[in-house]
Assembly symmetry: C2
Homo-oligomer: 327 residues x 2
């Protein structure tokens, strides 16, 4: 690997000049040319590690998510990546697997590797951001809010819960169950609150007990909860799924029981990019995951550049795509 010294020697200049050429500070045209020539001849690539050590920061941002296999998060990652790479930053994707310890490890690595910022969808409400914040690095929370005073981008979760439920109500369903993620994740709690409000407003006398399930935000969570609901003495006639994967699990179980969607109403909070369902069978509250990633990345980049305004939280609107009316 050629170093800046090799290039300097070949170009007949000082190492400092080579550095300047690669960092865009003023150097005479001839020397620029000479340096570029020499660099090309030696196929020189600046050593980022050395630069990082010297500068105490690197053009890398960490994106920490709880489930890399969830298309919702990969779609978000796409958004982050597009903005970041546009700005010359690379993105390190870290999968916390919804475990606080794994997450802590990645946070430690982010510090030790001098990464310049973090975008994080926390694993848990117990995620500790103290040490990372103590280093002064900007952190943007996505998808889930935190108790810290930092920038955030979230979905309109309560509204999502409400519109999903209302949609089902308008379609004529009544006993509408809700399957959400872990209760202590605010995203899940908010969506559940939206469901409860919509339902009790429409049917004040409906007994909600047994109709609400908290599960993992995964396909198996949706499956388990749906099986339970179906086993109820008085099963629901519709269900709101708290996220995309729960929706998939619930629909799978319904299908297996011969209850293909409009028969039991289904509304899913989150898109189902890879379903093969007829698009009109299920109500989908689209969550703009890519947009969330884009927004978070932009905010982070501004902070990295030194923006000092008070912490902001952006709430992203969602869009309901109704199922066709029940026949």
């Amino acid at each position: 690997m050629a170093t800046i010294y090799d290039v300097a020697e070949l170009a007949g200049v000082s190492p400092a000049t080579v550095s300047r050429v690669f960092n865009g500070t003023s150097v005479s045209d001839e020397k620029v040319a000479a340096v570029r020539d020499a660099a090309a001849k030696l196929s020189f690539t600046p050593n980022r590690t050395a630069r990082t050590l010297r500068r105490q920061s690197s053009e890398v941002i960490a994106l920490v998510i709880p489930d890399i296999e969830n298309p919702y998060f990969t779609e978000m990652a796409r958004g982050v990546e597009d903005v970041a790479s546009e700005a010359g930053y690379s993105v390190v994707l870290c999968n916390s697997d919804a475990q606080v310890e794994k997450e802590a490890t990645y946070l430690r690595i982010a510090i030790a590797e001098h990464m310049s910022g973090i975008i994080i969808a926390t694993a848990d409400e117990s995620t500790n951001l103290d040490s990372i914040l103590a280093t002064g690095r900007p952190v943007v929370a996505v998808d889930r809010s935190t108790t810290y005073d930092i920038d955030g981008v979230v979905m309109a979760n309560r509204a999502a819960g409400t519109s999903a439920t209302k949609n089902l109500i308008d379609a004529g369903y009544r006993r509408i169950a809700y399957i959400g993620g872990p209760e202590h994740i605010d995203t899940a709690a908010e969506r559940a609150a939206g469901w409860r409000t919509a339902l009790t407003t429409a049917y004040p006398d409906l007994d909600l007990s047994g109709l609400q399930r908290f599960e993992t935000f995964r396909v198996d969570g949706g499956r388990a909860a749906m099986e339970e609901l179906l086993a109820l003495p008085e099963p629901p006639d519709a269900v709101v799924a708290g996220n995309n994967l729960i929706g998939v699990g619930a629909i799978q179980v319904l299908t297996e029981h011969g209850l293909t969607p409009p028969e039991v109403g289904v509304a899913v909070i989150g898109s189902l990019p890879f379903t093969t369902l007829s698009p009109s069978a299920v109500t989908v509250v689209r969550l703009p995951a890519r947009h969330m990633g884009v927004t978070a990345a932009r905010m982070l980049l501004e902070r990295i550049k030194g923006d000092k305004q008070p912490a902001r939280t952006v709430v992203l609107r969602n869009e309901v795509q109704s199922a066709s009316p029940r026949v």
Copy 2:
């Protein structure tokens, strides 16, 4: 940020001793204790950048994939990550977006950041690995084979094409189309070859012209091709999808046309983790993506540790999950 000098001073030892404590070389028990104490007091985290610069290698491996939104690749990433983090390595996920230029950028970063190895599913047959190989870094190819003499892990692609097709033949279909990825990607070509062999063996007089489509390995590719096939004067009565996303697209279009699967036979090469189809409607050739990631990571780690045996290629067997027989 505390440095080893701060820790050394507080612990009353030399910086070298601190370094030794954190790298597991022999230090007397008392000093180890003193150092650990001091480190804890200062909440010291070793600076990885400095270590990397000094050691000329870091415990980071790059995983370069063409589509981060494809569950096949994220499942693989999971496998890589599990093995890597077990061994104390972190994984940087790089999305080449099937573009050779983006891929080249990431490869350059991998060098410049001293990453110790690369696992890559190449974007294209024109991917150039020369410079990365010139640095002596181990590279493992996954999913797609390359022209380089390096380790690889691939699926039994031709066999996958054959069994998918045979399965459909056994179910009584005859005009079986094939929708695959770009012809110049060997994965796609091999699967197509398997389809062709199976079909011409069973029906030597069948005219295959028009029945074969090369598209992008994405949902829209599957959709477009399926629409074309359906518009044929003599449309196929079944279709083999060359990967999971193409399968999703094809099934979507069929559903929209009222031709739900067993009506038109469908076999998909690759799993459909998020479909809501009744599992018995479609034949799935399961590709062990996670296992591919695990295998690749293990091979890479061995190479990093200095394994010098000749390049190996591992071919992973797949497992067919048949649709129920046509009624």
